[in-house]
Amino acid sequence: MQYDEKRLTRIVATDCGSTTTKAILIEWVDGEFRQTIRGEAPTTVEAPLNDVTKGVINATQELEELARLKYNNPNIKFMENGEFVIPRKGDIGIDAYVSTSSAGGGLQMMVTGVVASMTGESAERAALGAGAIVMDLISSNDKRMNHEKIERIRQLRPDMILMAGGEDGGTVKHVVEMAELVAGADPKPRLGSSYKLPVIFAGNKDAQPEIKNTLAQKVDLIVTDNIRPKLEQENLGPARDKIHDLFMEHVMQQAPGYNKLMDWAKGPELESVPIMPTPAAVGNIMQAIAKDEQIEVVGVDIGGATTDVFSVFTEDYVFNRTVSANLGMSYSISNVLASSGLDNIMRWVPFDIDVSELRNMIKNKMIRPTTIPSLLEELVLEQAIAKEALRLAFEQHKEFASGLKGMQRQRDISEAFSQSTSGATIVNLMTLNLLVGSGGVLSHAPRRNQTVMMLIDAFLPEGITRLAVDSIFMMPHLGVLSEISAKAATEVFRKDCMVYLGTCVAPVGKGKQGKPALYAKLELPDGSKFEEEIPFGEVRLIPCEEGKVAKATLKAHGGLILDKDKNKELSVDLHGGKVGIVLDTRGRQPFVLPTEKVERIAALKKWMREFKVYPEQILV
């Protein structure tokens, strides 16, 4: 059911994250939907409170306080006796309450397939697309012995299992064998032992009777359409829908306070609105942008525990989501250090620091995840760590977001000597139109210039790419709001959520330090002009307001190229933004930082000054 402003004038939306519960107020003001107020409070899904709704109440109380201040009206209230008042009656109450959730570890799944890179990967894609964290992929060919697989299944305690395997009419034996391993392990659900573990079978339809024989007694078996009915066809929808249903029916029912939260989430007709896993809601919004504007998009949401990367590529709008379960800025910050190594973090830091002090600082952030850097030096360090977390998460995404593997491909003579195979990544930075950042470290960076620098250094966009950020992290809220009002969600998304930061122009290829790399002539909307022959190894930031366009003539030198057609010269419109237009001649493929510390620090300081990312005091 969809509603418009006649039924929706005031909506509260929350996202119950693993650290913080974020609440926003959306109102119909002066003929349009706007996000007006935001509040937050620590999530309370864990001891001692063990009730997610306490955090929601605290965050909503903050909304109420701020609303009273904003409208200078002491009577405004959204809740009474600890519950939302729906529908709104004047100052009291709201018309709808919706929520997403990733608290309590989100949705944790295990998936199985016959061949890891084929049906296994399809199962993984379905689970990730539904907003899950995939704890493990177990397949017939994953090189572990069967008894090791059984042990692993037993240890994991996922919220549910998705089993794929075999195209329709294909292998039955391998699919049943996997079911036998699952049955042998007799897995128990993560939350509580009062119900059977949900297992979705979305494999070869011919294997369904045998699967039922093997598993029906031991688990809560749900059978749905094959995820990979043919080798060249992926059918993720039915499995994803089943995952969402089970998430509501089983997982959410078990988490502390969620019964009450599910009861609270209602539309104006008092009909219930399902709680959505946070990443699924963000995925909804990302796909909507890509289709709406007919562009290729990469989005990233860097949280405390995990980093999600979303992408929509190719003319078919192929959507992929990956979650790097142990790359994040608080709970998992120490793992970023372990995964990237200290040197990779230090390469982004423009000053010397006692390494053991840095290590202890990172560990202290891990054990006290809600603290924030109040010292400038600590902010610089956290942003250096963020760049590495983003880089690693994007590398994992590129590897995963690929064409279907295992298909026969006809090659023409031009491809005969190339290394491309089926299943190559579909992420092409050169054709990417828009890079969107989200999550605390990007959305709440004290200067938007810092967000631009983090996105560019971590993702290394190529050619011409627009950059944006989710202003205050409300994509999840809008993703779930679109379930009851696409109109409200879209309006707020365009007006309040997306903050366009500007455009990055980065020629691809190798150059020589100091030699001409890019000639750029920009006619800016205020009538002024920028013209420079920019040497290799530099950055330039040219202010150009949001909503305005600069007419640009760009010419790359040497071996550098500017777009997918390998043009060296372009006349294009470059979109402005809160930060402006960045001309980056530091090179791509490869992007190389000086190896000598003194040189590296000097280069970082030069770029950081140009980007205006930090106050001068930290760069002297």
């Binding site: 693993s18 509040g39 937050e40 409070a41 620590p42 309370t44 864990e46 001891a47 001692p48 409170l49 605290n58 965050a59 109380q61 903050e62 306080e65 201040l69 570890g105 069967n146 008894h147 059984i150 042990e151 039955v172 034996k173 049943v176 064998e177 036998e180 049955a183 042998g184 392990a185 045998e210 093997t214 142990n326 709970y331 998992s332 120490s334 793992n335 372990a338 053991s356 002090e357 290590r359 202890n360 600082m361 990172i362 560990k363 202290n364 952030k365 891990m366 054990i367 006290r368 809600t370 603290t371 924030i372 850097p373 109040s374 010292l375 400038l376 600590e378 902010l379 709440h444 004290p446």
Partner: protein, 376 residues
């Protein structure tokens, strides 16, 4: 007021504790409601299912899965010993020439036989598991077949981070002041089976000496990240700990690096020197926060066992707080004001702040997220 700050760790000289001691799988409860137990009492036990050994019988016998039924000598649920014949063929012409038999590689029972894959699942014998009380107290509830609820009155300290599992020993205060670094010279045979208390810091070589002298656990303000890595042999990426087997349990009360132990924690441990202490280092900071615990049971009367409802401590002018991030990490102060508007701090971050005052009268501003409330 929205509560944009952390609830503090509990440090108290008296709390009514309630602990569930539950078996990993259903089993037998060995005590009854009203029983007084000690930490060492086994309260419940069960038999965990043994390891599953998958075994492709059809392949071993050289027949198809569908043919297997004609040769099989076992059935699901049947007990087997090592070398029990699982299946055999009759050999050439049924005369026993080139007869092939397949014997069980393990002792246990037959779980499943599949005519689709030709695979049998054999399960090794069950593994006994016992759950101990872990703390002295009273059984106040029995959850049939699953475990018990134990209650007691204790002095209680939550650590911020720890490693190593549950253990019990008598408390031994080795530090003179809360900012002491534990000296290796203090570790000797008198520390055997004790839970020793360092001050602000404990070095790797001191921990090694403690392991050598049979110390059960160390309570310290801080530990160095690299020492921890050396102890474990790997770097901790995500704080999920408690299963480490390094010879003792370590509980940090403050964090990483040399950090003075909170005065209240130090004083409490000093006052309880010599008392029996239950301690574990289990830490999980995500998805169900678990913090290490130091439990020092006290004498109590059954009528005292009424626990208070959990509440969020309130941050208001006059509240005592501890700073949990640089600058001033670890210092204690008093809140003097809570301005509502967002304020820019040195890092230029706009945050909700508090105004506070240290004991010496110095005033400061601090993000509310960087303090924890000290419960009075």
């Amino acid at each position: 007021m929205g509560q944009a700050y952390s609830a503090g760790l509990t440090v108290t000289d008296s709390i009514i504790l309630k602990k569930e001691r539950i078996l990993p799988l259903k089993g037998q409860v060995l005590v009854k409601k009203g029983d007084k137990v000690t930490a060492e009492t086994v309260v419940a036990e069960t038999l965990l299912p043994g390891k599953v050994v998958p075994f492709n019988l059809a392949n071993k016998l050289g027949v198809t899965p569908a043919q297997l039924v004609g040769y099989i000598k076992i059935e699901p649920g049947q007990k087997i010993t090592k070398d029990t014949i699982l299946a055999e063929n009759k050999g050439l012409f049924g005369l026993g020439i080139f007869k092939n038999e397949v014997r069980s590689p393990v002792e246990g029972e037959v779980e499943n036989i599949s005519s689709v894959t030709g695979q049998v699942l054999l399960r090794e014998p069950r593994i006994p598991v016992q759950v101990k009380a872990f703390m002295d107290g009273l059984i106040t509830d029995v959850i049939e077949g699953e475990g018990v609820v134990i209650e007691n009155k204790s002095a209680y300290i939550q650590g911020i981070f720890g490693i190593g599992d549950e253990t019990v020993g008598n408390l031994m205060m080795l530090a003179d002041t809360p900012d002491d670094e534990l000296d290796i010279g203090k570790i000797n045979e008198s520390c055997r089976d004790k839970v020793i208390v360092a001050g602000a810091f404990v070095h790797y070589h001191v921990i090694e000496a403690a392991v050598k002298h049979g110390v059960k656990a160390i309570i310290t303000g801080g530990i160095d990240d690299q020492d921890l890595k050396k102890l474990l042999g790997y770097d901790i990426g995500v704080a999920i700990t408690g299963h480490e087997k390094i010879g003792l349990t370590i509980v940090c009360t403050e964090g990483f690096g040399k950090i003075t132990m909170a005065q209240k924690t130090f004083d409490l441990l000093k006052a309880l020197n010599g008392k029996k202490t239950s301690i574990h280092g289990r830490t999980q900071i995500r998805a169900g926060v678990i913090r290490p615990e130091i439990i020092i049971p006290m004498d109590f009367d059954e009528s005292e066992l009424i626990s208070k409802e959990a509440t969020m401590p309130v941050l208001e002018p006059g509240t005592m707080i501890r700073i949990i991030r640089q600058p001033h990490f670890g210092r204690i102060a008093k809140v003097t004001a809570l301005p509502e508007e967002l304020t820019k701090v040195e890092s230029e971050t706009l945050v909700r702040i508090l105004e506070g005052e240290f004991e010496d009268g110095t005033k400061f501003l601090m993000p509310r997220a960087n303090v924890e409330v000290i419960e009075s």
